[in-house]
Amino acid sequence: MSTPLITVTDLTMGWGDVVLLENVSFEVQRGEVFAILGASGCGKSTLLRYLTGLDEPKSGTVRIEGVGTPTLEVGRPAYGVMFQSGALFGSMNVAENLALALTEWTRLPPAAVSAIVRAKLRLVGLQGSEYQQPSELSGGMKKRAAIARAMALEPGLIFLDEPSSGLDPVSAVELDDLILTLNQGLGLTVVLVTHELASIFKIADRCILLDRASRSILACGAPETLRDECDIPAVRHFFNRTSPDRPTAGRTGENA
């Protein structure tokens, strides 16, 4: 196997006295779609912040091949990030949102910048929305615009925080298709945080399942393998959408 694109070593995650993950290590290979899974509140998004360099881990290291430790604001970024809310700049229209990184980091003439912006918008199916304000876009359009913005500088790696959350099933499927297109067509490595089982099985090559109780990675591998072959109950519950201990209304209890 070639050298991994991202190597996480002995990472401890948390803040103050709270520790969410302790000494976890994993690798992301070049060209794969890698999903970070886990229950709400187990620290998926925080882990993504460490991978992108937005926050520093309590201990341990994150290394990205060709970048080193992810550090922001020191040069042209080697990866793109899509935030859960899209985080488009509200004071700029869609085209300006996409053009910002281009004008900042390249010396392309304005006509070339606008050509690239239009091409990226076509890529995510948002042609014609150049001059719309982010507030005029629907949730799915915002996410697609945010993906286009993350792709503006042609990175080889993008991070997506819950791309399909809050979308209707059709938009969610379209977004999955888009991620697959980017991955297969452009050879883009995609690291994403998600809850959506359908989308995991459809697009993820490998995934890790975080667990807050044991502060560790419960399982790591291809989603189908984990669903069919893993004998850890929590992993089975996750992939088969069953609930281990939630009481139901029909249950008759014992007298106190």
Binding site: P77, L88, G90, G250
Partner: protein
């Protein structure tokens, strides 16, 4: 006129509580209970039930036809309160439908202990507030340090500065503020002349109104009032804009594009304020003197030329210039404090409001403090 409430319908339920029999009591609840009956049920049980430690209570629900979640939650809480107090209490005879809701609300389970309320005493609160203030101060100085580095970076490589945003920001903070600045400084000059005119008239010193207005406007009130207006307009706007960008992850998004928020967002704002506040102050000075002139001409029978000549005699260029120096420093203070507060925002809409308030309050405090320091320094240096 009072609000007319619908009359309460007849209760569809009742509580039968026979006198305690040998330390035990069967309370029978009948009928249909809804959340709307909750208050009455709660009061009735409180009135009819004997103290928990003396009497064991069994709630007989066999006559209860239906109950909703809210009413069940209250019943379960009554049971748990009695159990917590050391008494015995249980539910019996529930029909299938009622039993389902009873189970859902964990009526058969033992009471879950309430998490202990953490009480922080007076000294603890003082200590926490002090630590918070120190942390805030530390954050602010770290921010000022980073800002100095960011400005140094832009000066070293001017291409990296966000020069595009400076003119629009100057328009917003400067040009748009002109009407209000003119109005307020005119009124300040007018009021000051009016108040002092009466006193000076008694000594026949009418003409010195011009001196008083000119000196106090150019040295103190012009710069200070203009800065206070700009602080309320633009300081609040900066904090709210940056705060909203922070909570909606736009600042993070900017950083992931390799663009530093200090260089890209804060630098143009502070520079714009630094450039426009002295200009606004100069306009304010001029109009403040005009306010005094109006009173002098209308109320003190001075001629326009006489008033203006006296003003010219009273002032030296340094009077105006020191006001402008102050206003430039005011601009830096407002810009730094407001942007630092904006970028320190956490926690949604409420956080944006809190930081915007602190931005304005802290800027006003800083303005008065800086003004006092300047007055003292100029006085000591004999300027």
């Amino acid at each position: 006129m009072g609000v007319k409430l619908d009359p309460l319908p007849d209760p569809t339920w009742r509580v039968q509580s026979p006198p305690p029999n040998g330390g035990a009591m069967d309370v029978r609840i009948e009928g249909a209970l809804t959340f709307a009956d909750g208050g009455a049920l709660w009061d009735e049980l409180a009135a009819k039930l004997p103290p928990a430690t003396q009497t064991a209570v069994r709630f007989d629900l066999s006559g209860l036809d239906s109950i909703d979640g809210g009413a069940m939650a209250l019943l379960v809480q009554v049971k748990w309160d009695r159990q917590t107090a050391g008494g015995k209490c249980e539910f019996i005879g529930a029909n299938d439908a009622v039993q389902k809701i009873l189970t859902l609300y964990e009526g058969d389970a033992s009471p879950t202990p309430k998490p202990p309320l953490v009480r922080i005493g007076f000294l603890g609160r003082v200590g926490n507030q002090t630590l918070d203030a120190l942390r805030e101060a530390q954050l602010f100085f770290a921010f000022v340090g980073s800002m100095v580095l960011a400005v140094a970076g832009v000066l070293r490589r001017p291409r990296t500065g966000n020069w595009h945003d400076i003119l629009p920001t100057m328009t917003r903070t400067g040009a748009d503020a002109v009407p209000i600045v003119l109005l307020i400084t005119f009124l300040i000059g007018f009021v000051m002349a009016f108040q002092s005119a009466f006193q000076l008239k008694q000594f026949g010193a009418n003409i010195y109104v011009a001196d008083l207005v000119a000196l106090s406007i150019t040295r103190e009130l012009g710069p200070l009032m203009t800065a206070i207006i700009v602080c309320g307009r633009s300081g609040a706007a900066f904090a709210a804009e940056l705060g909203t960008m922070k909570v909606s992850e736009e600042i993070d998004a900017l950083r992931t594009m390799g663009i530093g928020p200090l260089r890209f967002l804060v630098f143009p704002r502070i520079l714009a304020l630094f450039l426009v506040l002295p200009i606004l102050t100069l306009l304010g000075d001029l109009v403040g003197i005009l306010g005094g002139l109006l009173v002098g001409v209308v109320n003190l029978d001075l001629t326009i030329t006489g008033y203006l000549n006296q003003t010219q005699r009273a002032m030296v260029p340094w009077d105006v210039f020191q006001g402008l120096i102050k206003s430039a420093v005011f601009a830096l203070a407002i810009g730094l404090i407001s942007c630092a507060q904006g970028l320190a925002t956490t926690g949604g809409a409420e956080g944006v409001g809190r930081r915007t308030t602190s931005a304005v309050v802290m800027s006003l405090f800083a303005l008065i403090l800086i003004d006092a320091a300047f007055t003292l320094a100029f006085h000591t240096l004999g300027l």
